[in-house]
């Protein structure tokens, strides 16, 4: 039993899992407040990373400025997508809504392949690349930064929904749209805001991932990895999304470890979450933290 490797993998899993958690949170945010399943979440993330990369490399802007530009751009883009594509579909059956975001994801993926190319591109060094040793474990600074950033995003989310006026409006809308509207909340604004926040946070996650690895369109796979995470956590629970993300991150690395050491099947890293997903759906169709829908005739 290779304890060192196991713990190293688990730490990696925790860090990656936190990022999954952040993306899962964006996903749940949109689902909870607008009842839209965003299959294009991964593409939003890649878009943010590419825009930031573009400003740094092509325009030679300093990182902070480029990052700010990317944030503004993706936020506006998120609002545009909501207003132009999803607003006409309010009240349509769920398959239409799923398909429209899938169509959007195909469209964005092809467009980004065209504009930015299919190969991966590296960011110039922003965080140092040296490794820090914590309790005998090697952790790259970039990983550590991404961990801290994920934590910060989560705390901001928590305070936003707990105390801010807009956060409360969003929670009210998620709870019941009609009642929220009768209390003077603009549901339209809330919907646009949900997409704006989600796109913005995805952009942050995308830039962090781009810094840690490299920017490429294959990062969009995170948008698919998010599904096991949100199902484990229950679709409409933001806390669940974070927990689910961490569980999936740990699970992936655990599967990798077991597979690499004992089973030698290969590729378990990518597929194990989906097996878990099916099993969880068989036992608890509403996830671990989701609310069970009780329907009446």
């Amino acid at each position: 039993m290779n304890w060192g490797l196991l713990i190293q993998l688990l730490v990696n899993g925790l860090i990656v899992g936190m990022l999954y958690g952040v993306v899962a949170m964006c996903f749940t945010l949109i689902y909870k407040s607008t009842q839209v399943v965003n299959f294009a979440q991964g593409e939003f993330l890649v878009l943010g990373a590419w825009i930031c990369w573009f400003f740094i490399v092509k325009w030679q802007l300093p990182f902070v400025v480029a990052f700010a530009f990317a944030l503004v751009f993706t936020t506006i883009y998120g609002i545009l997508v909501q207003v132009v594509i999803l607003r006409p579909l309010i009240g349509e059956p769920i398959i239409s809504v799923i398909m429209v975001t899938i169509g959007l994801s195909i469209f964005m993926q092809a467009l980004m392949n065209w504009i930015f190319g299919t190969s991966a591109a590296r960011f110039p060094q922003v965080f140092g690349s040296e490794k820090i040793t914590i309790a005998g474990l090697n952790v790259e600074t970039a990983y550590l930064m991404s961990f801290v950033l994920s934590l910060v995003i989560m705390v901001v989310f928590f305070y936003f929904f707990r105390y801010s006026r807009y956060g409360l409006a969003m929670r009210a809308t998620a709870y019941n749209q009609q009642i929220a509207q009768s209390l003077g909340i603009s549901v339209k604004q809330v919907f646009a805001m949900a997409w704006a926040i989600s796109a913005l946070v995805s952009c942050v996650a995308g830039v962090v991932l781009g810094l840690v690895n490299a920017v490429s369109n294959s990062l969009a796979i995170i948008g698919i990895k998010v599904f096991p995470a949100v199902i484990v956590g229950g679709l409409d629970s933001i806390v669940g999304a974070v927990v689910g993300g961490v569980i999936i991150g740990l699970l992936e690395n655990l599967a990798e470890f077991v597979d690499g050491q004992y089973l030698h099947i290969g590729n378990m890293y990518a597929v194990a979450p989906f097996y878990v997903l099916i099993i969880i759906l068989m036992i608890r169709p509403y996830g671990l933290f989701g609310t069970e829908n009780i329907e009446r005739l």
């Binding site: 195909i106 092809a110 990518a270 997903l277 068989m282």
Partner: protein, 354 residues
Amino acid sequence: MSSVPYPRPCGDFRTSYAADMTLFRTRGATIAAWAGAAILLAAPLVGSDYVLSQLILIGIYGIAALGLNVLVGFTGQISLGHGAFFGFGAFASAWLGTAYGVPPLLSIPIAGLMTTALGMIFGIPAARLKGLYLAIATLAAQFILEDFFARAQWFTGGSSGAPAERASLFGLPLDTDRSYFYLVLFWFVVSYVGVANLMRTRDGRALVAVRDHYLSAEVMGINLTRYRILSFGISSFFAGIGGALYAHYLGFVSAEAFTILLSVQFLAMIIIGGLGSVAGSVLGTAFILLLPQVMQAAASSLADVFPAMQQGVAYIKEMSIGAAIILFLIFEPEGLIHRWRLIRASFKLYPFSY
């Protein structure tokens, strides 16, 4: 599903339930169906090779799209794994041929049955789920099957792919597009008539009842679990048949063809054609298969003016599919078949608007 009433000729009344349930509603529809069959039978004699290959592909994908429409359009279940089932049918038929020497004519229906069994297994978790959760469960099925294709050397040949022999009929080889067309046409007609007739049976009506309100359906004595799994089985059967025909048409199967993108394309076909419409599935299939080629021609002709278009052709083809899905859902959510019904009704009722 249709909001446009079916325009009937004057004096054409139904006096019995049997008359109300006929497959061809009017004499015109009967004539049109036979005429369509005759044109398709004659197509290999007059059509060029290009037209023929497109017709074969539309037939193959159309069979699978019909199956998906049973699941999505009639039963109201969502599947994001149809492409993987299609692939399973293709590999199964190729495997039966190479491992056991089963001739293609026989291995195609057997592959269909094997895919049915697989679809029912994946249908079991689906029996309790609906809507979004089901979409994600079938997405998981897609990835698990993709992983299986890449791994099961004995079954799929792994990353190098599997050969599939061309079909033959009593020693007469069906190795040209012209002869293979008739094999595809046979299965296409069987599938089309089969799905159209399904709606005239108790089981078919039970499926629609599950779609319209699953709780009411259950109260009326319809076994939800049974019909949901049955629907998965039927849909996988047609996916398997389509996949097997695809394998023997290309003569070679490789796992790269059966990604999530294929599943999405199947869904796009039935949504653009019209959910719950048999003819719509075929229209949508033709649309999705021909759209990239039209876009390619358009982009190539524009390349003289904008040289950048030339290198972007592959991306433009992909983008056009995404854009078609989005635009149809926003502007024509009921699909091409709805548009066709409107056109037909306006001709029928001319010069009045209704």
